[in-house]
Assembly symmetry: C2
């Protein structure tokens, strides 16, 4: 098995990364191994020493690879989710908006039947083999991904106004919220998560 | 300082939790200490042994407390963000949708000037003292939070259909996406993060 060899993900040896994934994510999801390689590709394509924010286009697994391998977390907001359902992440400069997008390229999966079956859901999960998928990911290395230069929308770019928005109490629920969002908080505008 | 005493957050001693926060979140944010106490309150109010999913109503800090103290992460999707800008989290049963919501209650901050100044942004950040805020959080313990029973909207409840949505290639960008989202992927419908 190639993956027992010299493969590294970030600064981790492969097996060490797998342990970290189990501990944080709760299980060894193939998507996080893919995500780990994608993070490395993105970093390798960034200007050296540059600070970056990250966008994940899917909430499935990918964000946990980013949280394990970079300083960006969802709670420090250097990591953002912009759900398009595509398996892609973007590392970008939060002042200029310029960045590098890395995606798992379905057109490059011809030689990798186990990855293809997993990624495109060609077979029910119970007919798939985690070992075979991981083995293919390790052998495929960076060959199954694509990259492109992108510029993110202004809403993802840092601005002083965002930082200094005032806090007030919602006249409806009485809780604190950013008053730039309206006269009432978004929940009392009908956009809360409760029925 | 009370916080050097016997305070625990989750299974961590206070200082140990602060170390974990530094390592994962990158800095000691008061919001994560609050979040840690909120996680403990939510757990204490759940039926014992029950599995739960979590919603954070703010992406500021709170999700990192959840990721440090529970098995729920953004990438395993047991943690979800439903941004209302309120400082609240909900632990809920993903099959019934019933849960407990915990929020930082602005009306209970009368005795806690440093927390109040931080939470309601009453003073510029540089005029605030992190030590004083943390000291007040430790002394306030659970006294500044509120709880309520809630039922989450159906979109947060587990359903077999969601799990089995088919994957296809977008005719526009060629990338894989969940075809239940439309004929093209959400990015090619104009809802992507790029300009």
């Amino acid at each position: 098995m190639e993956r027992e060899g010299d493969m590294k993900i970030g600064t981790y040896a492969y097996d060490e990364f797998i342990e970290k994934v189990k501990e944080f994510h709760g299980s060894i999801a193939p998507g996080i191994v893919a995500g780990g390689v994608m993070v490395d590709i993105a970093k390798a394509n960034l200007p050296e020493g540059e600070f970056f924010d990250v966008i994940c286009e899917s909430q499935h697994c990918l964000p946990d690879a980013v949280q394990l391998l970079t300083p960006c977390t969802i709670g420090n907001r250097w990591l953002k989710i912009a759900e398009t359902s595509r398996y892609a992440l973007t590392f970008y400069n939060k002042y200029t908006g310029e960045g590098i997008r890395v995606y798992l390229d379905a057109k490059k999966l011809g030689d990798w039947p186990a990855i293809s079956a997993w990624f495109l859901k060609e077979k029910p999960k119970k007919e798939q083999s985690l070992d075979r998928i991981l083995d293919e990911f390790c052998r495929a290395r960076t060959a199954i991904y694509g990259t492109e230069k992108v510029t993110v929308k202004p809403s993802f770019i840092a601005s002083p106004e965002k930082k200094h928005s005032a806090i007030g109490l919602c006249p409806c629920c009485g809780e604190a919220f950013r008053t730039s969002l309206g006269e009432r908080c978004p929940a009392c505008q009908g956009r809360g998560p409760y029925g």
